[in-house]
Assembly symmetry: C2
Homo-oligomer: 223 residues x 2
């Protein structure tokens, strides 16, 4: 059986779950509290990192970028999630990195650290000035992607690509935390509703972190 070790509010894990969904690849989900560095997990996988995919062949690959490369190579899908030609492939890569590097460090990592990981790591209470800074950074990123969606339909062109799935991995974590005032971002909201109806999203909308319930609209396709 194919297995994905993940943590609920890990944007990188969510992106892989969405890619598995697009490719219709069945898998078991195993929640790994990776920061606890469970000996059986770290002995087998020294980086102690999620997402970690163990495929039917028993090959194991970790990190969302490597897992997606692996899945694209082993289980190609049409239209290709990595882009239809070299130019679009570079744009998909640029935008995926934009979310995994810039959006992550300026918005989703900050917000997840303050609201979730500080509690998990016993590192104190959320810092409201950091949360304000992440929210203001998010507004800037949302203004930029509104322009892209308006011009292109999806982030990197007319069809869905892994850039959209990467963005949705991050944005769905923020949405779980109730930190997005959707009324301010109608274009991003309409795009997110489309991505939310993709097959891989079902299990993400069912995620429930013990002691941290999502807002009521989190699971609604029509929010």
């Amino acid at each position: 059986m194919r297995s994905l070790y993940h943590y609920w509010l890990c944007p990188f894990c969510r992106t892989v779950r969405l890619v598995l969904g697009e490719k219709n690849l069945e898998h078991a989900l195993i929640v790994e509290r990776y920061w606890e560095r469970r000996p059986e997990f770290v002995d087998a996988h020294p980086a102690g990192q999620v997402p970690l995919l163990v495929d039917v062949s028993n090959e194991s690959i970790s990190g969302s970028g490597a897992i997606i490369e692996y899945l694209n190579q082993r289980y190609e899908s049409f239209p290709k999630l990595s882009g239809q030609n070299f130019t679009q492939m570079l744009e998909v890569r640029r935008l995926s990195d934009w979310f995994n590097q810039l959006f992550y460090s300026e918005v989703s990592h900050m917000m997840l650290y303050e609201k979730i990981m500080k509690r998990n790591l016993h590192e104190g209470v959320p810092d409201s000035s950091a949360i304000r800074r992440a929210t203001s950074n998010m507004e800037r990123h949302f203004a930029y992607i509104s322009n892209l969606i308006d011009a292109r339909n999806y982030l990197a062109g007319p069809n869905i690509t892994s850039a959209d799935l990467t963005a949705a991995g991050h944005i769905s974590c923020l949405d779980y935390l109730g930190t997005i005032s959707w009324v301010k971002y109608p274009i991003v909201k309409e795009w997110y509703a489309r991505v939310k109806s993709r097959p891989g999203f079902r299990s993400i909308l069912d995620d429930r972190i013990p002691a941290v319930p999502p807002p009521s609209y989190y699971s609604d396709l029509d929010f």
Copy 2:
């Protein structure tokens, strides 16, 4: 003429400079204070992002991941910086993402924001608790890569790959800021000395940010 728009202490820009150096591709360096969103720059490149490469063909590509994909396709080098086979390619990708995502958000982005960008953006004075947290995160990451280097010689195997250049892009920024106590990390230090002697490093060691001088050992190959 090939041009790279960059900012001195941008880890992603430095990685691209190192890749250009490995491939022996001449280029002009243009310093872009990207956060000022200079109209001529943003009009031509709406993302307003560095690194931005304008190649001899006049094609322009931004984002380090996309630029490196582009350069690997157009100007292949031996041994391949992206890895010698599919398995190593996945490991190069995993480790490059490790630095660009985890190390960046937990260490280099935090440190650069506190020590450089807060001043550039007029957002107050450095927060010493954030700097302490970044330093403690760095120790954890350095312990992990010490194990990899010890076992493999370079991060992803016996030869240098873009994983090493990516790591060096981040680490050289921290070193410019004088935040690494090298005596504590002998294995990482020995690896860094090897990477520091690569051709692309020369211009990086000559970087001088106005009003922020590096420590005296920053440019020394034997530090």
